[in-house]
Symmetry: D2
Subunit: 380 residues, 4 copies
């Protein structure tokens, strides 16, 4: 059986999370290939060595360029900060590697456009780490939409809330500034719910947003203009409404200051023949209501998807579905696309570019106060 | 003990609901007055007679003008369609009656402005039927905000969803047109969640909205311009974002086409020291999370308010809180304001005017695509 | 239209709760009679006078014998402590009155047997205050069982939990002793869930129980024999299992010491073709799962019953269903049985006797440690 | 760093589930050893070869005796049917191996007693696959009990429900008979909730049970004696009550015929200072209520434990906690006990024996109708 050798760039949190998924995802999943954790790269040698040992990588290295150039590597997995994504991805694509890149694909759409272009030229498989959409309940919603069971989508309402605290305690810190690589609540977590929305309803074509950032002088709220978002300051949260190409409408919220919300990705979708509700914190539950049920039995039903994993016996391990299981599904799709070359539905670079364009439009609208159009994606 | 004689105008659904509340609200509630269901008025004599008999009113009548002129009537309760509100209210106020008016106060803000003016001149007690805010869990949230326990409000997310079906199956029907008295999902149900938002966070100062109406030619969605909202067509639902005077931001959604949602009024409020969640369908639950809890005990707690009714032993009957109990609380506040003349917190005409102005701005924004400012209320 | 005059005996909490229900229940409900709150009786004149005025009763009195003897009274509603039930009920039945009696029908089954006998001889309508079973979601479950939609009941699991605190802080207090009229958690609240079980599954035929009572010397638990239940001491809670005549089995729990449970009546029923779940704290939700659903849509559905009230337009007021609404339904059934003489399903004296016999068997089993048989009810 | 070589006996579902856990559990968890999947054994060579390849084991074999005798193997993991557990475990213990054995430890307590004896003699580390108790919310409940934060446990109510269907469609099949290795709903799934109960409250000392088995002649229910459980027939479900050594009481239910319950392990615990609720289907939620909270803030709070994994950065992967994560925690504890030799809390053979004795007592009580005493465990 074919062996795919992976090199991962970045030994931080995401490098660790991906390591777990590479360890467990291929087991018993009939991917058509074995997956070998070949090299872990981090520019800090101590981190690289320690992480490789702890996470089961055969080798460690500090120079990603050397590793990207190696013939024995099939897959480059990029887990660095976003401002490094383009350079690494372009090198990897030029070397003919399949590339998995953590989200956001980049902080700047023009960089992402070059990555999409290079991926198309290279003819390899790319994917971006929009992991939540792989949750079986979300994927099943997509299937019902494709089959017409839910009718035409009409309204989408999504939120991604955390209680990690304000991104910006000091607007002068690098973390608070886009220019120095920062990313706010809308881009960091809000983009996941935008991804879910586009996965289910297709392209968003225009947005109008209110984002807010905690200013230096404000103890608790955003009471004056100084606290308004500006061209460079990242946001701590916000709200936006949108129109989809299909005619559907949507509303979104993101925040880092939602007490009691450790990690709440939530959405509701109303379509002409039914409605669906999803909450990451009860992610195993597929909840659906159909318009044409008998009156005395109409309402949301809760279907436990935890034995419905799409992948053979692996579903049995899915008696409970956690972060690692979802990550495993994510990489199973990536590996399948490489091995089988077929049309495995997944968020590739072109898709991630469009999400980035939506988030750019959200940020622009928050500054200008105007509706901002989003380019149509190539998928449409 | 003082007796207050009520005349109710309109024997339809709301007349019936108010009758239940007048029957039960005063019982054992120490209001300082007895409340007598004196006259039920409906311009259809058969309806008036039947409804009065069934709902416990001493007399029935068909001419509201005569009844408003009677010396033995203290309170006029208006349950007619909105286009009749102004005329009846002005007459009642001129006659020195206290006036309870169902919502919306009117369909047109200028009418509501005259009603506010007349109410001020008359010096009587007015109230509008924003009943949901009287739910103990909402009122308790307001108290915690007033006491500073939740800190500064930052973000509000509210929805009011029903599955009653599209308002407009034919855009030429009177029901589908504002000019002929129609009111869409945003005004009809969305206004309740706007009321909850303003009750808790104060004035909304600008809004931006997307409303949609099912057009004649559209079977299932709103795919073309014909289905966009126009100047007169009412909406089947929509989304809007807003800014509050306090600096907080908010997002709203309303719809008549949400499968599985019989009557879902829902909101979440993030403030700087805590967050609150409310769902009408579990209305007895007050749900709150505080920022400063110990990490391993931080999260939403669910407090059953069903024995916490503010009104003496009556709370005991509150082992479960339904629509009738909430209506009873609504009228208890109205009666108390009449009897005690003190500052009983309630949605009076001035308040209802502001809600109407917000809804007007939502409708205008949906047509123009621009942010629309809302006048500051007199309360602020 | 016929007028039914009610005299209520007892002006305490239950007298107040019933007053609300008499005030609101008949409104618009097509009962075929008007219901007049004629006399409130309490042996404390001050209580009687005050309660009558506050709760809308035309007269007050202190001598229930005189009132029971009055020709103009049609209905006697007994809200006294249980040890007075038999005497009042027998007198009322002898006078040909219809009798509503709060639960428990008595504390001693032999008393209840005489009441059943007298009711049969009198040929009048009797009912006991098992109010929770009238919740639409429970009544609908019964209907589905009657229609065979759920198949054969197999297992019932019910709990009634409160956090009112231990019944017994001092085992020498009258409240702690059956002989002096006390009733423990199993009898006081557990009997409601036994009523729900028998309403849905028919007769319980034998039980085995563990009840516990907080002893004088125990600070926190029940660590020694002194804290075991004895022949006279009432319980603070307990667990019991049972067999139904149908072959189904069940488990029950009751407690007064369940932190966080203000008033939790909960049950689950597994039947051969489906399952139902009920929680009083979300009493408007009917939750059902069917065995023969498609695999990917199988699970509990939640149907909001709050617009499904059985009684004409009244259902509209049921946009939310609280304690008063449920009480109103309870009295609507009672009045209908009086007016129409037909077979209105309700818990009459014979039914309440059987519940009492089950609770007696539970108490006996807790003392003897043996299975205790329950006589078959007359209904079966 | 020390390397621990594992041989797993049995390539079925549990062998697969354990393989996932061995692959992912050690990654980044600071166990003090690396864990190598050395040999997978199955008496069917084709299964062994295929499973080893698919699940990442270095070798495969068909003769467990040979593998147990190998010097290079440190750990024997037994995933065979229960009737083979004793023989394999005794051989492994005699060879000085650490032994992990799936539950039930055996079907017969006398076998388990010999295993406990041999484990004590060998002085190695043993553990049994009661995996659910490792859920962070359950482990945290234990910690709060140990610290006295919840006071003294008073009442435990647990259920384990599935909808897998009746175990017995034909009482003559081997699956339906204990003698031929069958295990019913009470033993198969009910034992997990008994394990949770003993983990939190200590020894159960006596039980009384009703178990039922679907008889050959019964289409849907268990209407006659033929369907009663007998000495050898396994059960499809049942209910039982128990007394704990501490004086607390409990009730349990298990079933294979609960529509809508894919895998519902649920329990509630009332203690003198607080209460806890757990549901496997929302396993990331720790729900607790304390007696001494302020009245207007008293109720269950929901704490998301999904970032509270006890094991360093690994907690980050716990953004969602699934079956694989829980299994990983299970094996992390096992490995730690081997490496550090310290007192790592885990369910060892002695513990599993006691659970088996409780389940034997449940089965015996269901046949005799009597209370059955359970021996005290060695832990107590």
């Amino acid at each position: 059986m074919r062996e795919l050798n992976v090199a991962i760039i970045g030994g931080g949190f995401m490098g660790q999370a991906h390591s777990l998924a590479y360890a467990v995802g291929p087991l018993g999943a009939d991917l058509g290939a074995t997956v070998r954790r070949a090299v872990l790269v981090d520019n800090d040698a101590a981190v690289a060595q320690s992480a490789a040992a702890r996470l089961g990588w055969a080798e460690w290295a500090t120079d990603w360029r050397e590793v990207v150039a190696r013939d024995d590597i099939d897959i480059i997995d990029i887990c660095t900060p976003p401002q490094l994504h383009e350079e690494i991805a372009l090198a990897a694509l030029a070397a003919g590697k399949h590339v998995f890149c953590e989200k956001p694909i980049t902080n700047i759409s023009t960089e992402a456009e070059r990555m999409v272009e290079a991926a198309r030229a290279a003819g390899v498989v790319t994917q971006v780490g929009f992991n939540y959409r792989h949750t079986p309940a979300i994927a099943f919603t997509r299937r019902l939409l494709d089959e017409g069971k839910l009718g035409v989508p009409l309204q989408f309402r999504g939120t991604y809330l955390q209680e990690t605290g304000f991104y910006n305690t000091d607007p002068n810190r690098w973390r608070a500034r886009k220019a120095t690589g920062g990313s706010g609540a809308s881009g960091d977590i809000g983009s996941h719910v935008v991804d879910a929305a586009e996965y289910l309803l297709g392209d968003i074509v225009r947005v109008n947003a209110l984002l807010r950032s905690k200013g230096a002088g404000a103890e608790t709220g955003w009471r004056d203009d100084a606290e308004r978002i500006d061209d460079d300051l990242i946001d701590d949260g916000g709200v936006w409404i949108c129109q989809f190409a299909s005619g559907a409408i949507g509303t979104f919220a993101a925040s880092s200051y939602s007490s009691g919300r450790k990690n709440r990705l939530f959405f509701e979708l109303d379509a002409s023949r039914g409605a669906v509700e999803f909450d990451w914190n009860s992610r195993e539950e597929f909840r659906v209501s159909y318009v044409d049920e008998a009156t005395d039995h109409r309402g949301f039903r809760t279907v436990h998807t935890n034995t419905e994993h799409p992948d053979g016996w692996w579903r049995l391990a899915g008696l409970g579905t956690g972060y690692v299981e979802i990550s495993a599904i994510q990489f199973q799709k990536f590996i399948r696309a490489i091995v089988h070359g077929d049309d495995v539905e997944r968020p590739d670079f072109a898709h991630a570019l469009h999400i980035q364009q939506v988030m750019d439009a959200v940020a622009e609208s928050a500054i200008t106060g105007e509706w901002v159009d989003v380019p149509r994606s190539e998928r449409s």
